[in-house]
Each structure stands twice: as structure tokens, then as C-alpha cells.
């Protein structure tokens, strides 16, 4: 168990250090999220009474799209640089690699969400209750990171990996997307106390996707 945690830590620390040095990924994700929000703001031109109803969907669509950029690079960068094989010939537990990549993606997406939520509040002039939103963001992002990491691993074996990830991922995360949009209602001042079943559903999806990813990852990266 200690060796497993050590391997998760080693890969996670390496990914964070590589990203800190290059700053390629998170900045691209943040810029994309901001530009998407600006575009939605101009395109939808929402009346104040519609913002809370439509805004939830806008925020999550932006989070999913920006997240997909980061998810796609988590294995594509390893494969492009030739380091993925270095990991595969090492005695690295495949599920440790999976959990490390999930945690890394989770952290990168959390950073993007911090900026995206602030930009969303400013652009759409909407009041948000931060606590319910934080709970929904945490569960939704974990599910997205788990499924996204699994499918990014699958897509990394394909030639058109950047295109394949959204094609594979988006149909699978529909339940998460429905769940987070519904669970976000109280954060936008609607349907207080109605989010609990949706949060339970999201937590269930998270557990299922994390378990499936940990088990399947052994075979996902095999050529």
C-alpha cells in the first residue's frame, strides 16, 4: 500500500513540476474558459431572470470543454515525448498511474474552475451561493477527471487522439452533466434542498468511474 501511494505521489509530483515549468496546459485551459464565457455572454445576451436557469448550463459546458483540453494532453504529451513507454516498462502499478493522472487533472481543472466561476459571476452579473456550488463542482469535476483520464488513455493509442477524446468522452459524461446542472440549482438560488439526490447520483458515478478506471487501466494502455 505504501509503495502504491509512493508511486501515485511520484507521478503526480512529476506532472505538477512539468506543468509548473512549462505552464502550457493550465494557461491554455484558463484562456479557453474565459473566451468561451465571453462568447456565451455576447451570444446569449441573457435577461437577468434567465441567467440562473441558463447560466448553470453555460458554466458546466465551459468547464467540460476546458477540462477536455487538459484531459487530452495528460497522455498525449507523454506519448509525444516518448515518456509513456518509459512508464510502461517501469514497475509502475497501472492503477497508481491512473489515480495520479486523475488527481493531476482534478487539480488543473480546479484551478480553471476558480477562474471560470469568478469570470462567470462578473460577466453574467449573477449572485452565487459558493458552498452548494463548491460541493457540486467537486463531485462533478472528480467524475469528469475519472472518466476523462480513462478515455484519454484509450484515445492516446489512436492516431487522431485529440479528436477521438471528445468523441469518446462526451456521450459517457452525459449523466454527469445532467447531474451537475441539476445539483447546481441551489447555488443559483433555485430549488433549495433539491440537490441532495443529484449529489448522491454524482458521488455514485464518481465511485463507479474511479473503480472502472483503476481496473481497466491495465489493458487501456496496452498496444
Amino acid at each position: 500500500m505504501t509503495a502504491f501511494v509512493g508511486q501515485v505521489y511520484a507521478v503526480l509530483a512529476k506532472d505538477l513540476l512539468v506543468e509548473w515549468r512549462s505552464r502550457d496546459l493550465v494557461i491554455a485551459m484558463i484562456v479557453f474558459a474565459f473566451l468561451a464565457l465571453v462568447t456565451f455572454n455576447f451570444a446569449l445576451d441573457l435577461r437577468p431572470d434567465m441567467v440562473s436557469a441558463v447560466g448553470r448550463g453555460v458554466l458546466w459546458v465551459v468547464v467540460v470543454f476546458a477540462g477536455t483540453i487538459g484531459l487530452g494532453r495528460s497522455f498525449a504529451a507523454e506519448r509525444d515525448q516518448g515518456t509513456l513507454e518509459g512508464l510502461l516498462i517501469a514497475p509502475l502499478d497501472r492503477s497508481a498511474l491512473f489515480f495520479a493522472k486523475v488527481l493531476g487533472n482534478l487539480l488543473f481543472m480546479a484551478l480553471v474552475e476558480l477562474v471560470a466561476v469568478a469570470a462567470f459571476v462578473a460577466l453574467f452579473n449573477v449572485a452565487i451561493d459558493p458552498l452548494p456550488l463548491a460541493a457540486t463542482l467537486a463531485l462533478g469535476t472528480l467524475g469528469l477527471a475519472a472518466t476523462g483520464t480513462l478515455f484519454a488513455g484509450i484515445a492516446s493509442n489512436t492516431r487522431a487522439r485529440e479528436v477521438m477524446l471528445p468523441v469518446l468522452l462526451f456521450p459517457i459524461i452525459v449523466p454527469i452533466l445532467i447531474g451537475v446542472v441539476q445539483a447546481s440549482q441551489p447555488a443559483f438560488g433555485e430549488g433549495a434542498a433539491r440537490e441532495a439526490p443529484w449529489l448522491v447520483l454524482l458521488a455514485t458515478f464518481d465511485v463507479v468511474y474511479l473503480a472502472a478506471g483503476a481496473v481497466a487501466f491495465e489493458y487501456v494502455l496496452e498496444e
Binding site: 505504501t2 509503495a3 508511486q7 515549468r21 516518448g82 515518456t83 516498462i89 514497475p91
Partner: protein, 250 residues
């Protein structure tokens, strides 16, 4: 946490029986049989697309063969690949290093993955061994191809593997570095490590190894072109497509 793997010293370093590998309908390896004892050095030669790199990748457990069995140091590498990987060091076409990190940081990362004891001391030792101590704290992407290859050699021997698989390790190395590599290979073999050296530079490989195996179209095309009489490798046999049970396509 340091991890130890018990090696069956009586077992050969490599015992591969009937290894075949198919890529998208093409048979890249055809029923390869290979036995290598600890301390032996084998050159793997052959023309381009002969299957040298595929065989190295199968032996390194990066690729799973479509047929055949493989044991490394007595460990069934297909059933227990993680244990077998602790015995293997690989230098491939890619250095398997992160360009944003320094050579030392890369080695620190791999030391954690392999569970190397007294990692900092060992890292200094291998950097010194490959002659990279002076450039160890520069990002790998700033190093020349030859220096990256030295860093890759340091990564491959970091966990003191019993079996070294070198796939054209001379690529990018200048004359002096090739001489250093030759000394390292000889030194590693003296310490009981087995070495498989894939190269299409037969003369260069000849100077570094005890025996040679020639691959041709994924099958063993001949043994011992160095014309040595002490080969313990099995006799030449035609490659068989074990999946299909028929003679290989040419």
C-alpha cells in the same frame, strides 16, 4: 520504499520460447526462441524492419507477444510483468526523459518508481558513471542528443537491473561517448549483468558482445555471424507462425 525481487540465479536471464507478435495483421516476430544466461552479451542484428526493436520491446514487457512464453530471471514476465520489470533496464530509441526536468530530477522520479534505496547517492553514482555529473542540473531539453542518451543510460542502470536491453544505444553518441558506452557495457557484463544490444552496426556490436543473433523478417535468420564456436544459443530453426500454425509469410 526500496523493493527487492528474488532472482532465481540458476534460471537464465532470458528464456523466450516461440515469441510471435502481430501488428495490425502483419507478423513482426515469428516464433523466436532465445535463451541468454546471466553475464552473457548478445548482439541483435539485422536489416531495417527485421524486428529488432519489436523483440527488444517484447523482452522489455512494453509489448505483449501474441504467442509464446517469456521468463526473465526465472520470473514469468507475461504473468508477473511488474516483478520482471524490476530486473530490466532499457535504452530505447527515445530517452524516456522529461524535457522540462533536469537529468537529476528525471532520475529522482524514476528512483521513486523503482523504489531505489539511498536514491540521491545512487543518482550521483550513475551520473558520474555515464559522465553527466557536470550537466545533471540542466533541463534535459537543453542537452544535446548525445548527452540525452547518456542520461538515458543513467536512467536504465539506476535500479541496478540484471538485464540490460539496449536498442541502438550508439545513436547520437560521438566517438568518445561510444568508447565510454563500450566500457560501460563490458563493465556491466563483468558484474554479471546480461546485455542484449540491438544494432545494425555489426562491427561495432561485435566488439561489445559475446554472440550475435540475426533477425530477418521477424524470424531468426542466423546465429553467430561473428563465427565463434562457443555459442550456447539453440540451433537455427525457421520462424513458425504459432498463431496460425503455418510457415511464415515472406
Amino acid at each position: 520504499m526500496p523493493v527487492e525481487v528474488r532472482v532465481d540465479v540458476a534460471a537464465p536471464a532470458i528464456r523466450a520460447v516461440g515469441i510471435s507478435r502481430r501488428y495490425a495483421g502483419v507478423l513482426a516476430l515469428r516464433g523466436i526462441d532465445l535463451t541468454l544466461q546471466f553475464g552473457e552479451r548478445l548482439a541483435l542484428t539485422g536489416p531495417n524492419a527485421a524486428g529488432k526493436t519489436t523483440l527488444i520491446r517484447v523482452l522489455a514487457t512494453a509489448l505483449r507477444p501474441t504467442a509464446g512464453s517469456l521468463s526473465i530471471g526465472g520470473i514469468d514476465a507475461l504473468r508477473h510483468p511488474a516483478q520482471a520489470r524490476r530486473l530490466i533496464g532499457v535504452v530505447g530509441h527515445q530517452p524516456y526523459l522529461y524535457g522540462e526536468l533536469t537529468a537529476r530530477e528525471n532520475l529522482r522520479f524514476y528512483a521513486r518508481i523503482y523504489g531505489v534505496a539511498a536514491a540521491e547517492l545512487r543518482i550521483s553514482q550513475v551520473l558520474d558513471e555515464v559522465g553527466l555529473e557536470g550537466r545533471a542540473d540542466e533541463p534535459v531539453r537543453n542537452l544535446s542528443r548525445g548527452l540525452q542518451q547518456r542520461a538515458s543510460l543513467a536512467r536504465a542502470i539506476l535500479h541496478e537491473p540484471r538485464l540490460l536491453l539496449l536498442d541502438e544505444p550508439e545513436t547520437g553518441l560521438d566517438e568518445a561517448a561510444q568508447i565510454t558506452l563500450g566500457q560501460l557495457v563490458a563493465d556491466w557484463a563483468r558484474r554479471g549483468r546480461s546485455i542484449v544490444l540491438a544494432s545494425h552496426r555489426l562491427e561495432w556490436a561485435q566488439g561489445l558482445t559475446d554472440r550475435a543473433l540475426v533477425l530477418d523478417h521477424g524470424a531468426i535468420g542466423g546465429y553467430d555471424p561473428l563465427q565463434r564456436s562457443d555459442s550456447i544459443l539453440p540451433p537455427l530453426r525457421p520462424g513458425l507462425d504459432l498463431l496460425e500454425g503455418r510457415e511464415p509469410e515472406r
